[in-house]
Amino acid sequence: MANTSTLVKPDRGSILNDPKARSLFYQVVLAAVVIAVFYGAYSNTSRHMADAHIPTGFSFWNAVAGFDINQTLIPYTQLSTYGRAFWVGLVNTLLVAVLGIVLTTIIGFTVGVARLSPNWIVAKVAMVYVEVIRNIPLLLQLLFWYNAVLKPLPAPKQSIQIPGGIFLNNRGIIVPDPQFGAGSGWVGLALLFGIVASFGFYGWASVRQKKTGQQAPVLLVAAALIIGLPLLVFFLLGSPITFEAPVLKGFNFRGGRQIFPELAALLLGLSVYTASFIAEIVRAGIQSVGRGQSEAAHALGLNARQTLRLVVIPQAMRVIIPPLTSQYLNLTKNSSLAVFIGYPDLVAVFAGTVLNQTGAAVQVMAITMAVYLVISLVTSFAMNLFNKRNALVER
């Protein structure tokens, strides 16, 4: 191969016929057109906004918001700024996205594995789940969870009482509020130590298993370390963490932590819907692992659970992760449907109320879109790292 190129030295000819130059030229032209269009849109918009006396700039960011939000994970009152309202909305969006991703992964993997179950009923139930849920628009499902499932709950005075001081009514779930007294820091420390020690023990156990083939009761030890140790410290210090029970006073419960029905509905709707897609991805991933792999595992004496966990899933993950990432992104973006059921997410609070009160439509929409873009890119980036770690390593 190397010889031919030295033998025939092609005539370079005109630069017009050089494919590299031509492609460079077209790319420069395309880039210039794109920039010109964006610049035109930008200058046109700002000129017309100024002409029409529509607020430009971001001075509204530090103005007092004046409205209230019911679910605020960071301190916020009506005297806070619009900027603060933005963060409240963003945190609420992230909360739903993170909880939703965890929940949908659990449901999706369970259903996906169940679809391949040798048990006929389990497999058919999983199939019906997938076929029904993924073929109904998400917005309808959200409205269903909110109106048909959560709203018929009783009024606060007739709350359903769940053992442990938990109340369920149409205002949500009210759980006792933990009060951290002196010494509760030690309990937290014990928990942290338990988690770290469990990982250490797991590492030691797997090294030993590779060397000697002996298995250690990892799960039992980890449970003792993570649950038992903090509990021991908790009782030794004389129960420093107390729970303030919610009490019905006037219209609603006072005290306690409240999980609003809007959050519950949004979380259920998003997770259940996205899980139907994840289930199919998981099924495809598992089926992509050749039958020979499981047969070989069985021949080696692994039982069905071990085969799935140690042989099939690790190989299936390579197929699963890339499409799984787009489902996570979908879930995050779909969380903006929150506005239809009154959950105060970024779109409802910032692109809704703030936009309306300030009139700064272009700025607010631009910020909101940029935020979703950043969230999606960060999620993609994290999943790509995870994918690299799991990808097939060619030797």
Binding site: A41, N44, T45, H48, M49, D51, A52, H53, I54, P55, G66, F67, D68, I69, N70, Q78, N147, K151, P152, A155, N170, R171, K249, G250, F251, N252, R254, P261, E262, V339, F340, I341, G342, P344, A348, G352, T353, L355, N356, Q357, T358, G359, A361, V362, M365
Partner: protein
Amino acid sequence: MLKFAAGLLGLAFCAGATFAQAGTLDTVKGRGQLICGANTALAGFGIPDSSGNWTGLDVDFCRAVAAAVLGDPTKVKFIPLNAKDRFTALQSGEVDVLSRNSTWTSSRDNQAMLFGPVNFYDGQGFMVRKKQNVSSAKELDGASICVQQGTTTELNLADYFRTNKMKYDSVAFQDEDTVLKAYESGRCDALTTDSSGLYAERLRLTAPDDHMVLPEIISKEPLSPAVRQGDDQWFNIVRWTHYAMLTGEELGVTSKNVDDMMKSENPDIRRLLGVEGDQGKGFGLGNDWAYNIIKKVGNYGEVFDRNVGEGSPLKVKRGINALWNKGGLQYAPPIR
């Protein structure tokens, strides 16, 4: 949302066509149709029935503008807008006039809009269930309250509970229907909106008699039609449409007797109906502009009565919406 995005795009690329350069009047005449931003569904103010016919005080105001400009009150296209998107729709030129029970405030006048004369003086109130035994808004401490997002109502609510040192949970939805449904299903203890809206919403509940409106009015809500800034001629047409309707009522000119009134000797009536003088020409309209409004839509009293007053299910009293010489605030500058 799609409408909203289209509005933004319009703002970016073709906004020039709708602002300042070409007057709204010429645009409307050229199109042969007025585009009016209306409520999605508020009985008495703007609501379509099952066959798509719109009724309401605000809707009739748009018909009056169409009658004045085009001579035909049916040449209106109503665009239903929720509270959140309404001002963007106006600013971006999607609608010619916004007549959608919107409160006139200074900050809104600072956002590229001009609010015309107040066509309904309103105030914010609360609706609760009778069985809760609440007789005053002061007893709502700790309540969950359903409210529409992006309204002055949402802000007044926050102010009211803060000044009275009470707590509440605000449950905000983007359109009025959802607010009402959430309240009806028990998600909230109280619903808050303008008091006229409360009476209208109460009638839409399955058992209106189980609910009551609390006596407190916690805010001033002057509801006005709004236009874009920078088109003085159009602003004039919109505000004098309302004044013509008021003057009609004041002078006793109704849709029934307007043809007889053309023969009236009263100089005020002659000027209003264009028998004398060139009032309409000054606005860029025909001299029969006010005649068309009153003949084809009615005077303010007639429109009020059939949409929200005694002639409607709402039965709202004229109160402060009566004419100035009958103890109310509705006052038209002279047409001359």
